[in-house]
């Protein structure tokens, strides 16, 4: 047991969550370089200390922690949701099932069991544009999109998208005309929403897999449309 670990744990308790690093989310500017790890930060040491304590007490299994991180860094992400969307685009019967009971339809592809969070799919059309948010915290459809990006959890998005959805979407580069109804879905309960974006014109000859390659995370949150070609730019 090092003095460091004792000090950092005690410090974290007395500080009760005072900023552990100088880089609060507001510091994550566009194109910010994330090189926090050059020198072990205060946060790194405090978190390590707690992990060691939990492992020593037998409360957590370190390899389980590794597997959890690996799962969310490498296995569960927007590619899962993109496959759901592409399937719905090529298979009208699947699309009907997805819109009627998204939990079961998504489970068909193996991404979520019926015991998990309830899923609801929201279809975008030329006249209806859906966008999702969690104004109270950070609820997000992990099973199909992975963990949410910082902007989705941030105060600007959560506070403004319900009162000024068109203005927020404009910041994402999406201008919606007045004949479109904007529906904002505030995830206040344990329903998780997935936006089914419009299939772009000119993609009639693409395979399901190629279509999945076009579908972005942002389109499935509802802050973007799907472009007919995978362009550079926003993720």
């Amino acid at each position: 047991m090092t003095t460091n670990r004792r000090d950092f744990l005690a410090g974290s308790l007395s500080a009760a969550g005072a900023a552990m690093t100088p880089s609060a989310p507001h510091a994550h500017e566009h194109q910010h370089e994330h090189d926090h790890q050059a020198v072990p930060s205060d946060a790194t040491l405090r978190v390590k200390a707690l992990e060691s304590l939990l492992v020593e007490k037998g409360l957590v299994d370190r390899t389980a922690l590794d597997a959890l991180v690996d799962t969310y860094e490498n296995k569960i992400g927007p590619r899962n949701g993109a496959r759901v969307v592409a399937r719905a685009w090529v298979d009208p019967a699947y699309k009907a099932r997805l819109l009627a009971d998204a939990t079961s339809a998504i489970a068909e592809l193996g991404y979520v069991s019926k015991q998990g969070d309830r899923m609801v799919a929201l279809e975008n059309t030329p006249k209806v544009h859906n966008v999702i948010v969690c104004t109270l915290c950070s609820c997000y459809p992990w099973q199909v999109l992975g963990l949410p990006p910082v902007w989705y959890k941030s105060a600007p998005y959560r506070s403004r998208v319900v009162i000024d959805p068109r203005g927020v979407l404009r910041e994402f580069g999406l201008e919606l005309t007045e004949d479109v109804e904007v529906r904002v879905w505030d995830s206040t309960a344990e329903l998780r929403y997935l936006v089914l974006p419009e299939r772009p014109a000119g993609t009639e000859n693409l395979t399901e897999e190629q279509l999945a390659g076009l579908v972005t995370r942002d389109a499935m949150v509802g802050v973007a449309k799907v472009a007919p070609h995978r362009a550079g730019g926003k993720a």
Binding site: A24, Q31, V69, E73, R160
Partner: protein, 219 residues
């Protein structure tokens, strides 16, 4: 609680900061906090509502200044001590108490795929009659609970229409405080944007909020 976390409708938070090609975690410690929260959750000593409330009770300035996983870390330490998995002395010393019996972790690496696809749901298969019907006009109650609630301030007192009945779910306002699950129906309720925000909202736009029976009254 009318806290800073209930920020729907505030206008002074600045532009959305978008990061291109954002990594899942911005530092290794964030990923360890995330994993520890999931793994300790397997002890079933607390629930998602209780965890959410740990973030809500942070002082407002701190809530805005600290990063997301810092808030998770703070909540994790709080729950570990409050729910008896770790003592405050162990947090202070960094080592297990001399008389502590080593436990067996309920979540092991081989269980991860199953654990992920079988998350404990807040949905309950119990017969509770719904108090409202799809298509019915309702008013969100004007209540100001001092504990955890999922009724956002911007919807209170507003008139909407029941759009969907999602079935029966645990009630966060009691569940977060370990006062029982109080299962009841949850509905998607549709509000005209103008009902919520007045004339500045586009007349055709709408906001859908998920609401429990206890948040609603007939209108």
């Amino acid at each position: 609680m009318n806290g800073i976390h209930d920020m729907g409708g505030m206008q002074d938070m600045g532009p959305v900061q978008y990061e291109k090609n954002e990594p899942v975690f911005h530092a290794r410690w964030e990923s360890r906090v995330f994993a520890m929260m999931i793994a300790t959750g397997a002890w079933r000593k607390w629930n998602l509502d209780a965890f959410r409330h740990t973030r809500e009770v942070l002082p407002p300035a701190e809530y805005l200044e600290t990063g997301y996983y810092e808030q998770w870390f703070s909540g994790l330490r709080d729950l570990l001590v409050r729910r008896g998995l770790v003592t405050a002395a162990e947090i202070e010393s960094g080592v297990p108490a001399p008389d502590a019996v080593k436990a067996a972790p309920p979540l092991t690496a081989d269980m991860i795929p199953a654990a992920l696809t079988n998350r404990i749901s807040a949905n309950r298969n119990v017969l509770v009659p719904p108090r409202f019907k799809v298509g019915q006009r309702i008013r969100a109650r004007n209540i100001n609970p001092t504990g955890h609630t999922r009724l956002p301030r911007y919807a209170r007192g507003k008139i909407g229409t029941v759009h969907l009945d999602h079935g029966v779910f645990v009630f966060p306002d009691t569940n977060a405080h370990f006062l029982g699950e109080n299962p009841q129906h949850v509905y998607s309720v549709r509000f005209a944007a103008r009902e919520l925000w007045g004339e500045q909202a586009a007349p055709q736009d709408t906001v859908y909020v998920d609401m429990w029976d206890d948040y609603l009254e007939p209108a």
